[in-house]
Each structure stands twice: as C-alpha cells, then as structure tokens.
Amino acid sequence: MRGALLVCKKEFMELSKDRKTMFFTFLMPFILYPLIFGMMGKLSQKDVASRKGKPSRILLVDSTQVIAPVLKADAKSFELVAAPQGDVKQAIRDQKLEMMLEVDPEASAKLTQHKTFSLNATYDQSDDSSGLALKRLKEALEKQNTSWVQARLGVMGASPELAVPSRIQTTDASTPGLAVSKVLGAFLPYMIMLMMFAGSMQHGIYTTAGEKERGTLLSLLSTSLPRNQIIWGKLIYVFSIGLISVLINLASMGIAMGRMVPSVASTGGSAAQGLGALSSIANPLTLVLTFLLMIPLGLLFANFIVLMGTQAKNTVEAGTAIMPGFMVVIVAAVFSMAPGIEKMAFLPYVPILNVSLAVRKLFSHQANYLEYTIAFLMTVGLAGLLTWLSTRLLNRESALFKV
C-alpha cells in the first residue's frame, strides 16, 4: 500500500505544478454555480414580472361594441391594439400581439333576443403570454356571462343565484417554487455526474496513456515498485479527483444557494419564493446523501477510466476508448432530466441510471430511501466487480508496458 500512496502523491504533486489545470478543476465550480443560479433567479423574476404586470394586447373586431366595454373595463389585463400590418396570425406568432378576437356582427341583436352569440379567438398555444391572454379572456367572459344571465333572470323575476349553482375556490398545494426546484433538481444531478466523470477522465488519461506518451512511465516501471501498486496509486488518484470534483461542486452549489436565497427573498414576489424552496438544495442532508452515492459511482468511473487509459497506446486512443463510457453517463444524466421518468417502474434497477434518478429525487423533495439504497448497493457491487476485474487485468506484466 505504501507504494500506491507514493505513486498517488506523485500524481498530486504533478497536478499541483499545473496552475491552469488546478484552476479549472478546483475553482471553476465556485464561479459556475453563482452564475447559473444568478441567471436563473434573474430570468424567472423577469419572466414572472413581465407576464403578471403587462396587459394582453388584443385586436378586437367588435362592430356592435358588445365586448369592447368588458375588455376596456379591465385595463390591467387587456389592451386593445390596432390591426397589425400583414397577416394577423403571423403577427401573433411574432408576439406583436397576443390574440385576435372577432365578435359576432349580430351580437347586440342576439343578446337582446336572448340568443347565443359566438366569439372567435385566435391565439398561439405554444406561447405562454398568448395562453395567458386566453385565460384572462375566459375569466372576464365568464363573469360577464354570469351577469348577463342574472339580468335575464331578473327580467323573469327569478333569483340571481339561479345562475350560479356552485362556485369553485382553489388552493395551490405546491410548496412555493416547487416547479423551479424540480427543474434544478433534474439539472444539478446532471452537472454533478458529468463533472465527476469529466474530471476523472481528464486526469485519468493524463496519468495513464499520457505517461506512456510522454515516456515517463518507463522510468516509473523500472523502479522496484510492484506493478499493482502503481495501478492502485493511479486508481486512488483518479478516484480522489472525481470525489474532490463532486465535493467542490456540491459545496459551491450549497454556498451559492445559501447566498442567493436571502438576497432574492428580500425582493419579494414568487421568484423569491421559488428560490426559497431551493434552499433545501443547500440542505446538508441532501448534499451528504448525494456525496455518499457518488463514492461508489466515482470508484466505478475511476476503474473504467484507468482500465481504458492503461490499455491505450496514447492519449488520443485513450480518449476514444473512454468516450463510450462518457456517452453512457451523458445519456444517464440527460435521462434523469427527462420529465415523467420517475414513473418508470424498472428504472430503480438500471445501474447508473438509478443513481441519477435517486439524486434527482433527493434534490426535488421526493427522496425515496428504498430506491436510494438499491441504487447505492448496486453501484457498490458494480464498482467492486470492476475493481476486482481491473486489478486482475492490470496486474499482468504486459498490461502497462506496450510500446
């Protein structure tokens, strides 16, 4: 073991001599997360503010002036605009206005004759603000309809309540900002897994195929250090780099979140509430459980990388050999971001995918400790298996030395 630690010490010494790599490995995350969170906070604030605050622009075609007074009465929600040049539908798609509303030309007559008249609303369903315009219109129209019905009932001498048999009262059960934390909950595990693999890969290739390429491996091999100790040293190094990457990313996330929450919360509004809920990401338990899960996963990654790196003749070849592994991680990570996957029953039993699923659930207040344990044990088993395999494969004399 002494030899392995010496080799590992050598790797860290080499790393410490390279300022640029040190910076990108260890300091970047501390800039990255405040940036990401800052941007998300700003965006969601701006988005909500712009949609809640602005009236919907509506092109109203209402020759008998039945609907116009209704919309004009609510200037906060509606703004009547002139017909745009060219195609109206295109103008709606271009977000020059939110909706075109065409009212039956005989609306006034139909209303007095107690008949139904119709309205034609043209909007863009794919656009949130256009959707908001429709929602506002429906609400305004419902109110107006009720009052027209009540007027008709008055004429007949019936109770106005006849028009309103029931009334719905809604309460939003989502904790503040659940939506935002779900998005981040899917995104942050992706970042952590990717950062861990990328960090391990970069340094793993440097110390295995890189040493071969630079011609330094031969001097290491000519010493009395046993081969397996050299392999172990490199494995410990690559594994540590992965874990350090995770630690730094989690710490930076926690700090950035902790900073962000009070400062945004003081500005009020629902964006602040959203970030308030995110403070649970800075929750030590979430971070610790995530880190625990990353330990066997990191060992799995390190083994794979060292195995591929030592078998390769040069760094390019090593990169090519490791790429498929990186793809798997990216797929797993992207998969964890996909909506609705938590409902797939087999997912907790798929290696690597179950890790990203478990972390995602941790981050979005849906921790499932049974699934977490399954993912943990499976990854431990897999990492153990690969460690055993790579130690056996690499312990051969020929493993490290192929010119």
Binding site: K17, D18, L218, S219, L221, S224, E397
Partner: protein, 253 residues
C-alpha cells in the same frame, strides 16, 4: 552479476498493408554473463535486439523462454526484488517535465525505498559530477535532451544499484559530457557493480568495455574482449566485423 540463459523474445506485429500477423524474433537463444566489476558492451546495428535484451534484464519485459537472473534473483519469480538491484537508463525514457531535478530525485528515492533526504544528497552529488547542479531547482520542461539525459542518469544511479543497465547512454550528449558518463561507468566498475551498456558507437566500446557481445538479428556472435574479437574475425576495427556479419547474413538468405 547478470546471467542470461537461452533467452527468447518474440513480438507479434501486424502488417497494415497485407493485414497479416508477423512474428518478429527480436532475441533468439541469447546467453551471457556479466560479472561484478565488469563492463559489458552489447554492440549491434539498429533492430538487432539490444534494447529488448536490456529491457528484459531490467524487468520491464518478460522473456518468452529462458532464464534471467540479476544478483542471483530470478526476474520472473521475484520481479520487484530483481528490479531493486537494477539502475536502468534508456533514450526512450523521459523525465517528468513538471518537476525540478531535485523534486524528481527525492521522489524516485522514495519509490526505491531510499530516504528522501539521502536520495537528495546522493542525487545532488551525481548532478554535480554531471555539471547540472545549477539547474537542480529549475523545472525540467525546458531542458535540452542532454540535460534530461543527465537527470535520468542521476535517477538511475540514485539507489546505489548493484547492476547498471544503460541503453545508449551517450546519445544526445556532447563529447565532454559523454566522457563524464564513461568516467562514471568506470567508477561503477571499480565499485564492483555489473555494468551492461548498448551502443553502436565503436570507440566507446574500445575505450571502456571489458567484454563485448556482438548482437545481430537477435543472436550473439562472439562474446570476448574487444581485442580478441578483432583477432577471431581477422579485422582491424569493430566496424569491419559488422560488415562481415552483414555479408554473411545476406549470403545465408
């Protein structure tokens, strides 16, 4: 003490054009002995099998057949123990560019089980002999090939090895430094170490080798004092022996 008995090494390479696998018999039934206090020169043209032989002695490669012992330790049975006896140097071996010579020597001392302080003192002494002490604390990234070679020499001798294996030790060195290296090898001999060097520079062999093995196509042709070899081949210089060998192998084909 170095002892090789009937050693074989074959490489399998792939011909990219015909896509056929080819067997290269790099070493064919080689036997030789280097006694303590002796400098043995392996002399042969490019691709003769010199480096392969030296790598096997250094424990970087395993022989397919035959036995290799250093100081009576079998390199196959006890590879680590055998490697501990050996100081190995080769031109296709590089130094860690991010380290200074001092850092490198301390580290390799530890790898070889020598106390870092002792290793540093010994290393600095060697660097002084090789006239590189001024660069002991400079990052090796910018070193010339000769400067790197000097650091490698110091690295190879750091742990006081009983067996010294130098594969083309003077390549890339100027005449002055080359002479220093040869002097160093003479000291090694006087200290009772077994030294084996490879080269295709004839004068060097003449100057320092007690015995010479002419290696050609993986086989040893004669193994004697330089003078004796010239006598048996009826040649004036070792170059001439080479030409004769080449002619003989051409006639065989």
């Amino acid at each position: 003490m170095i002892q090789l008995t009937d050693v074989y090494k074959t490489f399998t390479v792939k011909d990219k054009r015909s896509r056929a696998k080819k067997q290269i018999e790099a070493v064919k039934g080689l036997s030789l002995t280097v006694k303590p206090g002796e400098i043995y020169g392996l002399l042969g043209p490019n691709g003769a099998g010199k480096s392969t032989t030296l790598r096997m002695i250094a424990g970087l490669m395993q022989a397919d057949q035959g036995q290799i012992q250093v100081c009576g330790i079998d390199t196959k049975a006890e590879p680590e123990k055998a490697r501990a006896m050996v100081g190995y140097l080769s031109t296709d071996l590089n130094v860690y560019g991010r380290f200074t010579p001092r850092e490198l020597l301390r580290l390799f001392g530890e790898f070889q089980g020598v106390d870092a302080k002792v290793a540093e003192r010994r290393g600095m002494h060697l660097l002084e002999k090789l006239q590189l002490l001024d660069f002991a604390d400079v990052k090796m990234e910018g070193f010339s090939s000769g400067q790197k070679q000097k650091v490698s020499i110091a690295r190879a001798l750091l742990h006081d090895p009983k067996v010294v294996i130098f594969d083309e030790p003077t390549t890339g060195l100027d005449v002055l430094t080359a002479k220093t290296v040869l002097d160093l090898l003479r000291i090694m001999r006087s200290e009772g170490r077994s030294v084996i060097v490879s080269t295709h520079v004839m004068p060097m062999v003449d100057e320092i080798c007690d015995r010479v093995g002419i290696i050609f196509d993986g086989e040893l042709h004669g193994d004697a004092a330089p003078k004796q070899i010239l006598e048996t081949w009826n040649a004036k210089t070792l170059d001439e022996v080479f030409f004769q060998l080449a002619a003989r192998s051409a006639a065989e084909v």
